[in-house]
C-alpha cells in the first residue's frame, strides 16, 4: 500500500467491523430452544450489547446470520433467500447439534439435515442448546475469522485448502 492512509482506513474499517457486529436470527425449523438462548444473551445477565452486538430485524442490516436448527425442506428456499439478501461481508453461524448434523432429527423424511447443504457456514456452535456464553464465544470466533479474512483478502484462503478423502483410520478433512 503506497499510500499510508489506505492502510489506516483498512485498519479503521477492521476495527469498526470487529466492534459492532449486527446479528439477525433465522429459525430454520428448530425446536426454538436455541432461539430462547439467543434472546437470553440480550438479557441483563449476559448482555451482548456491551460488545456492540445488536439484534436487527432486517437481513439487509445484518453482518452475521445465526441459523438455529436443522433446515426443514420447506425452510430451505427461504433460508437461501434470506442469506442472499444480506450485504457483503456476511458470516453464518450454525447453532447447536441440529445446525451441524440435524441432531436428534437426523435423517427424517422432511429434513435437509444440516445448514451446510443450503448455505456456506463459517462457525458451528456445539450444544443442544448452546449456553448463552457459548453463543457469545461463537460471535467472537466469527470476528476473529473476519479479521483473518480481511488480512488475507476474502474467504478464498479457507477454501483453497486441499480436501483429503478420508481413509478408514484417519477421517477426511480439510488441510488449511
Amino acid at each position: 500500500m503506497a499510500v499510508p492512509a489506505a492502510g489506516l482506513s483498512r485498519r479503521l474499517m477492521n476495527w469498526a467491523r470487529a466492534k459492532s457486529p449486527w446479528i439477525t436470527v433465522f429459525n430454520s425449523g428448530a425446536c426454538n430452544a436455541c432461539d430462547i438462548e439467543i434472546i437470553a444473551c440480550l438479557m441483563p445477565r449476559f448482555d451482548i450489547e456491551r460488545f456492540g452486538i445488536l439484534v436487527v430485524g432486517s437481513p439487509r442490516h445484518a453482518d452475521i446470520l445465526i441459523v438455529t436448527g436443522h433446515v426443514t425442506l420447506k425452510q430451505a428456499s427461504r433460508l437461501r433467500r434470506v442469506w442472499e439478501q444480506m450485504p457483503e461481508p456476511k458470516y453464518v453461524i450454525a447453532m447447536g447439534a441440529c445446525g451441524a448434523s440435524g441432531g436428534v432429527f437426523h435423517g427424517l423424511y422432511h429434513m435437509m439435515d444440516c445448514v451446510d447443504n443450503v448455505i456456506p457456514v463459517d462457525v458451528y456452535v456445539a450444544g443442544c442448546p448452546p449456553r448463552p456464553d457459548e453463543i457469545i464465544n461463537a460471535v467472537v470466533t466469527c470476528l476473529d475469522l473476519l479479521k483473518e479474512d480481511a488480512a488475507r483478502g476474502g474467504k478464498e484462503w479457507r477454501k483453497k485448502a486441499v480436501p483429503v478423502s478420508g481413509t478408514d483410520t484417519q477421517p477426511g478433512g480439510v488441510i488449511p
Binding site: 433446515v71 426443514t72 425442506l73 420447506k74 430451505a76 428456499s77 437461501r80 423424511y109 422432511h110 435437509m112 439435515d113 444440516c114 447443504n117 443450503v118
Partner: protein, 159 residues
C-alpha cells in the same frame, strides 16, 4: 339427563351406536361404523354436553386405518369414538360443521395418512412442503422414502 353423568349411564344409552368398553375410571370408548360417526358425536354433544374436542388421532395398524375422536365436557369425562377405514380408499364425512377445530386435525390427517374427508371446505395441502409428491403419505406403515423422487428443499444438494 338429571344427576351427575356416570360412565355406565352414558354407556347404556350409547349402546345403539356401537361396541362400548370401559377404558378407565371416567373414559368410554365407542367403536362405530364410519357413516354413524357424525350422529354419534351429535348425540354425545347434545345429550351429554361433551362440548370440547380434545383431538382426532389417526393410526395405521397394518391392515386398516383408524380414526379416534376424543371429546370431553364440563363433567370431566372423556369419550373416544373410534372408526376403522379400509386402506385402499379411506374416506370419511367431515365433522367440521359441528366441531370447528376439527378442520385443523382433518387437514393434518389428510396430508399424512391420505384419508379423504368429504365436505371439508378447505382441503388444501399445507402440512408438507410445496413440492412434496401428491400421492405419498409419509406416516403410513408401508411408506419408505425412495431416494430418487425429489421431496423439496434445494434441488440437487440434498445430502
Amino acid at each position: 339427563m338429571t344427576g351427575p353423568l356416570t360412565p355406565d349411564r352414558l354407556a347404556e344409552t350409547m349402546k345403539a351406536y356401537g361396541v362400548i368398553e370401559q377404558v378407565r375410571k371416567n373414559r368410554i370408548r365407542i367403536t362405530t361404523a364410519p357413516d354413524k360417526v357424525h350422529d354419534t358425536i351429535r348425540t354425545v354433544q347434545v345429550m351429554f354436553g361433551f362440548d370440547r374436542l380434545i383431538t382426532i388421532s389417526a393410526a395405521d395398524n397394518g391392515r386398516s386405518l383408524e380414526l379416534i375422536y376424543h371429546l370431553t365436557g364440563p363433567h370431566r369425562m372423556v369419550v373416544s369414538i373410534a372408526v376403522e377405514l379400509e386402506r385402499a380408499q379411506p374416506a370419511m364425512p367431515t365433522t367440521t360443521d359441528i366441531l370447528p377445530p376439527a378442520g385443523i386435525y382433518e387437514r393434518q390427517i389428510h396430508d399424512l395418512f391420505g384419508i379423504v374427508f368429504t365436505g371439508n371446505p378447505h382441503m388444501k395441502r399445507i402440512m408438507l412442503n410445496e413440492d412434496w409428491p401428491a400421492d405419498e403419505y409419509p406416516l403410513r406403515k408401508d411408506w419408505k422414502p425412495d431416494p430418487d423422487t425429489f421431496y423439496g428443499g434445494i434441488k440437487g444438494e440434498r445430502s
